[in-house]
């Protein structure tokens, strides 16, 4: 963490005991409050109204195809790195209705717009990598000539409380993509968890107002040092990495490399990687009709470049072989995004590694494809 970075934060100190009151502020302001909760043996975003619901001392041990939660004695609430999903499903819904149609008696069709109804939502414990991914999804869904109204309505309702990562999982590599483990930008309030409390600072005008209202004591020199040590430790725990973006562009020169087939042999084409990736945005659409045939909804649902239909035109499938689908995903994510969005589409969260049922590791694939040998893991 750079000196400039720390100076810009100017955090105040919040004792651990004040955290419940801090959460209550959002409920008083009319927000629905979401936070990390242990469910189905993973960390999930769920509605929380008491800090007792947060995962005390829970760490997430992650590896290629592995995810286990462990409870340690440190009493930290944000020691876990992340669960299977970032903020993506809260904005870009896994399935939703785009429009509704009704067949009228005179044969005319009545088409009605369907937009989501949302409550203002504050999310506690958003990670730096997830904020970086959110910035990319914002660019895709909002900065286009045709911004997406569904995404926009949900996005405008969000209040984001980010927390620095104090620990890294073995699958994390955000230091090499420049997206963590300390918060960069895109949050309304930033926080760092220390042994006896939290440092908190505003990241937006509305976040700053709330922080000002808390009248926190300015952080001491020792507390600032602890904050730095926490993220330094997380950074030092990372061993996986991706090369720089200039090198990643060379993936397009490796389209005929033999390694695609090696990965294609192992890959199940299940689409887990694209489902957990916080930046993957592909979707498909289709009608769902009511049984009486009088009305229909146009639905969109997440699609994946690993699905059969993704590259299909009529009877013709562009990417029948799994190796070609994996190649599509990796070259697009790491090289194609650079032309489309000005940066790689990978924020180093490592979810695709963790949640791949056969443990395919994109950092290893990239190393093999760019002839750099295997990544040091």
């Amino acid at each position: 963490m750079s000196a400039q970075h720390i100076a810009a934060r100017r955090p105040g100190f919040m004792e651990r005991e004040r955290l419940q009151g801090f959460l209550d502020v959002f409920r008083l302001l009319g927000y629905r409050t979401l936070g990390p909760v242990v469910e189905e043996e993973t960390i999930q975003w769920r509605e929380v109204d008491t800090i007792d619901a947060l995962p005390t001392g829970v760490h997430a041990r992650q590896g290629a195809g592995e995810y286990h939660l462990e409870v340690q004695s440190d009493n930290r609430l944000f020691a876990w790195n992340h669960g299977p999903q970032a903020i993506k499903p809260l904005l870009f819904s896994a399935e939703e209705t785009l429009w509704h149609e009704r067949l009228m008696a005179d044969g005319q069709v009545d088409i009605k717009q369907t937009l989501p109804e949302v409550k203002p939502t504050a999310i506690f414990g958003v990670r730096a990598c997830d904020l970086a991914a959110l910035a990319l999804q914002d660019r895709h869904f909002l900065s286009q000539q045709n911004p997406d109204p569904h995404y926009r309505i949900r996005r405008e309702a969000l209040f984001l409380i980010g927390v620095d990562c104090a620990f890294s999982a073995a699958t994390c590599f955000c230091t090499s993509t420049g997206d963590g483990p300390s918060l960069g930008e895109g949050f309304d309030i930033g926080m760092a968890e220390l042994d006896d409390g939290y440092l908190a600072w505003g990241g937006s005008a509305k976040g700053g107002e709330i922080i000002d209202g808390l009248s926190l004591e300015p952080a001491t020199e020792a507390q600032l040092n602890s904050m730095i040590q926490e993220t330094d430790r997380a950074a030092a725990q990372q061993h996986r990495f991706l090369p720089g973006e200039t090198e990643l562009k060379q993936l397009y020169d490796k389209l005929n490399h033999g390694h695609w087939d090696e990965v294609g042999e192992r890959c199940l084409s299940c689409g887990n990687c694209t489902a957990v990736c916080p930046t993957c945005f592909c979707y498909s659409t289709g009608y769902q009709r009511t049984l009486d045939g009088r009305s229909a909804e146009m639905k969109r649902q997440w699609d994946s470049c690993f699905s059969q239909t993704h590259s299909s035109m009529g009877q013709f499938m562009l990417r029948r072989e799994t190796a070609l689908r994996y190649r599509q995903w990796l070259t697009h994510k790491l090289a194609g995004w650079q032309e489309q969005f000005g940066r790689s589409g990978c924020v180093g969260c490592g979810r695709c590694i963790t949640w791949c049922p056969v443990g395919i590791d994109l950092t290893q694939a990239v190393a093999a494809l760019l002839d750099g040998g295997l990544a040091d893991v």
């Binding site: 785009l98 429009w99 149609e101 067949l103 044969g107 005319q108 069709v109 088409i111 717009q113 937009l115 895709h140 869904f141 286009q144 000539q145 045709n146 997406d148 109204p149 569904h150 926009r152 397009y252 389209l255 945005f281 592909c282 979707y283 498909s284 659409t285 289709g286 009608y287 009709r289 045939g293 229909a296 146009m298 969109r300 699609d303 470049c305 239909t309 993704h310 590259s311 299909s312 035109m313 009529g314 009877q315 562009l318 990417r319 072989e321 070609l324 190649r327 599509q328 070259t331 697009h332 090289a335 194609g336 995004w337 650079q338 032309e339 489309q340």
Partner: protein, 277 residues
């Protein structure tokens, strides 16, 4: 808030069966205001939806100056186009669009235009031919080269004959498997390109058809001295949204629906013909 997902109802004014598997629909938005502000360029497309059945991208073949109606020529290729083929005048469809980038008609002004098509009737370029002929004095010579596999595959045969009688228009057709009464060439469309005497200083070429045909045509046009910037083509991919959001149509870093479907060859040269793209 403008919603690019939301279609507007359009009514079928006329239906023409062009050939056994190809038909045209003349459409008009039900909402006159929507019809009034509807503008497009040759080469752009609409998303056509049929109640409860599905939605497909179809290029617009009518002239952009015809403000009361717009036409789509559709080949029956799957479930949705099959259902669309059964529609009759006064039936309704949903329309979203226009989407995509059309042909470089401004760049083509004052130039000789070589139009190369292959396969079953190539609608995106028929709109260009009509556009050129209607504004004849703004363009140089027009070469229309069309290749079909079997002579029966040629639609708009009478139109090709009409076009060939226009001043400064060179129509050449080739069938790979011609019948006895086929008056034109036997062979591939690429063999027709060979016969052209191109003015390299002022020529633009526009291609549409199967990608292997386009690749062969591009190779030949480049051999004859055309630069990559003088070669344009229309591509087809899986499109769900039409405006660069769903990701299904991507070819390398390009969204075919938004950056295309008409591309300058130099923009897609690295991926055209590459397996899996």
């Amino acid at each position: 808030m403008f919603d690019p997902h939301l279609p507007h109802s359009a009514v079928i004014d006329r239906r023409v069966q062009e050939s056994p598997g190809i038909f045209s629909l003349r459409l008009q938005y039900v909402d006159t205001h929507v019809q009034d502000i509807f503008e497009f360029q040759p080469g752009q497309f609409n998303m056509l939806s049929l109640f409860g059945v599905g939605e497909v991208p179809i290029s617009i073949v009518s002239d952009p100056d015809d403000s009361h109606f717009f036409d789509h020529t559709i080949r029956v290729a799957g479930r949705v186009t099959e259902a669309l083929s059964r529609l009759q005048p006064d039936d309704r469809v949903g329309i979203r669009g226009p989407f995509g980038r059309g042909w470089p008609m401004a760049q083509a002004e004052g130039q000789d235009v070589v139009v190369v098509t292959g396969g079953l009737g190539c609608a995106p370029l028929v709109s260009v031919i009509r556009y050129l002929l209607r504004r004849r004095d703004r363009f140089g010579d027009i070469h229309i080269l069309q290749g079909v596999k079997h002579e029966d595959d040629l639609i708009w045969r009478r139109q090709y004959e009409t076009w060939s009688r226009e001043h400064g228009v060179n129509v050449q057709l080739a069938a790979d498997m011609p019948g006895k009464a086929w008056p034109w060439q036997q062979g591939l469309v690429t063999e027709l390109i060979n016969t052209l005497d191109l003015n390299l200083e002022k020529t633009i070429s526009m291609l549409c058809g199967p990608e292997l045909m386009m690749l062969a045509a591009i190779a030949q046009l480049r051999d004859m001295g055309l630069s990559d910037q003088q070669i344009w083509l229309s591509m087809e991919r899986n499109m769900q949204c039409g405006f660069g959001q769903c990701g299904c149509c991507q070819v390398g870093p390009k969204f075919v629906c938004k950056d295309g479907p008409v591309f300058c060859y130099s923009e897609v040269a690295d991926f055209l013909g590459a397996k899996g793209f």
